[in-house]
Symmetry: C2
Subunit: 127 residues, 2 copies
């Protein structure tokens, strides 16, 4: 593995040196907090994985979709989401694979909370 | 930007097809939830940014450190952390830059909660 930062990491890291005005740039970052029906947890995991793979592959403005479940409470799922900007997020909401995902998981998701965030530093290794 | 998945994304995505036994692989993923002293928020942001940049650059087992603050509650900071495995996390806790960061922010952090997670899907674009 090369020790190279991925684009979004490098962009934020470069900007964060310049202070908050630049750090609060266009990137749209949110954390989704979901509670899943225990009986449908494996089905939900399959659906969210398929959706994330597709969105990253086909949408140029979808940069990161990290889905995890809490070890102590596996039905509590969090998705860390980074979009190029607000327009990329809006486009994502209209994408056919997103609509398919929403329809598929509708009966699986007991609650959903979206936490909007301001990025401080998005550092990651690339391949 | 090339539509190529970063290493950790590709690794998890490849494994998630094989089912939960494989998906619960070695990668160590946690979310840190912090509350920061409002008077020291900008200092904290600088410290966490510097720490993340250094850890990603010098530690082969530190794959992702994404720090964000909640828009509605900017003193609430979350850090999404991915390590190659538990040993990489343990090594990180002993790294000089981590110890420096902990000492620097000790008076800034009002509370810290670590949420251990099981990755479902870690999909991201690379450069």
């Amino acid at each position: 593995m090369k020790v190279k930062q991925v684009l979004l990491g490098a962009a934020i890291l470069a900007s964060s040196v310049s202070g908050p005005a630049v750090a609060q740039q266009a990137q749209y970052v949110q954390i989704a907090e979901l509670e899943i029906d225990p009986a449908q947890l494996e089905s939900y995991k399959a659906a969210v994985s398929e959706h994330a793979e597709t969105a990253i592959r086909v949408e140029p403005g979808v940069l990161v979709l990290f889905a995890v479940s809490e070890k102590e409470n596996p039905t509590h799922v969090r998705v860390f989401e980074v979009y190029r900007d607000i327009d990329a997020y809006k486009a994502h909401l209209e994408a056919p694979h997103f609509k398919k995902y929403k329809a598929t998981v509708e009966s699986m998701v007991k609650s959903l909370k979206l936490v909007l965030t301001t990025p401080i530093s998005l550092a990651a290794k690339s391949q």
